[in-house]
Symmetry: C2
Subunit: 175 residues, 2 copies
DNA sequence: TATTGTTATACTCTATAACTATA
DNA sequence: TATAGTTATAGAGTATAACAATA
């Protein structure tokens, strides 16, 4: 168990790390806020999923997820198909336009991080990634009082080809 | 230099770390939002300072800092004294009520972190702290495009005892 | 003329609650 | 009755711009 002063310092560091997140958010295109970028990233990384699963991964309320998804669907980056297992639900999937945008975003993220962290070794960045992942796990596995509940909903495994349709109201690749 | 995939992973980790910050924010008392807690923490950690210096440490615009400081001053946690070096400026200082509140906040932070990270060694938490600090330094020392400029303003060294007055409109320790 | 700080305004993100549709 | 998702509303955080006072 770590000393109290280490935890106090960690609280300060976590508070201050917001500045880095804001710096990263500033490199996003004007029409793609950070919430949208997070949705695209998770759909790419974990594959198609339902709203509830996405809300779990984002670790925000489903109402928040709903708004983010509505935004990326309206922009034509994500498709929503009916879920054959549950008619209340829809399956979310990154489409080609979304994948193209995400490619652009990834490039910007990588460029920026590579520029700022040019004196970090591969191993050092890897260690930071590992510890950040562990920090998150420590928080949502053990019950932090007041923390958003994690449900780990059992997934529908009827992975038949869904009927995906574009529901964008704007062109797939807006200026 | 680290591999691109490490930077992509870091971008994902930084995006996801917001959940931990939100969990921590939830343990704060209702009358003390995270912005206020950050101000109190910095004034305690770095001692009295001016608005511009605080804005620099918070890494946000001075207009944002102004609102945070107005809040903590109205609550009676921070005093604002005229700056003898510059009549446009005021010196901010944590007062006893603010120090008492911060004591309470620190205890909650430490309790929560100690509970969630009970299987972390002192050294591991220290390593995470070190890397987070380095990450921040890498971002605001090297010029990240679009990032908030860091001015490193020369400080006024006339450290004579300032004329501090409480400017709270509410009792120093509100319910 | 430049700088310090405040205020007004707008935008993003989040949570709670009320609601619809389906299980 | 319970669950998946949407929408309305409110609150916190931040940035830009216009402004006042002082350097």
């Amino acid at each position: 168990m770590a000393a109290q002063s280490q935890f106090a310092e960690l609280a300060r560091q976590l508070s201050a790390i917001g500045a880095v997140k804001r710096d990263l958010a500033r490199i996003l295109p004007a029409h793609c806020p950070a919430g949208s970028a997070a949705v695209l990233t998770l759909l790419d990384h974990h594959g198609e999923m339902r709203m509830s699963r996405l809300a779990e991964l984002l670790a925000v309320d489903m109402s928040v997820t709903s708004r983010h998804v509505a935004h990326v669907a309206e922009r034509g980056w994500v498709d929503r198909a009916p879920d054959p297992c549950d008619k209340r639900s829809r399956i979310l999937r990154l489409n080609p336009a979304g994948r193209a945008l995400l490619e652009e975003l990834s490039e910007r993220y990588i460029q920026t991080l590579a520029g700022a962290l040019d004196d970090w070794s591969d191993d050092e960045v890897g260690q930071l990634n590992t510890m950040l992942a562990r920090l998150r796990r420590s928080f949502d596995c053990l019950g932090v009082p007041g923390a958003a509940p994690v449900k780990h909903s059992g997934e529908c495994r009827a992975r038949s080809p869904h009927h995906f349709e574009h529901d964008a109201v704007t062109p797939a690749t807006p200026a």
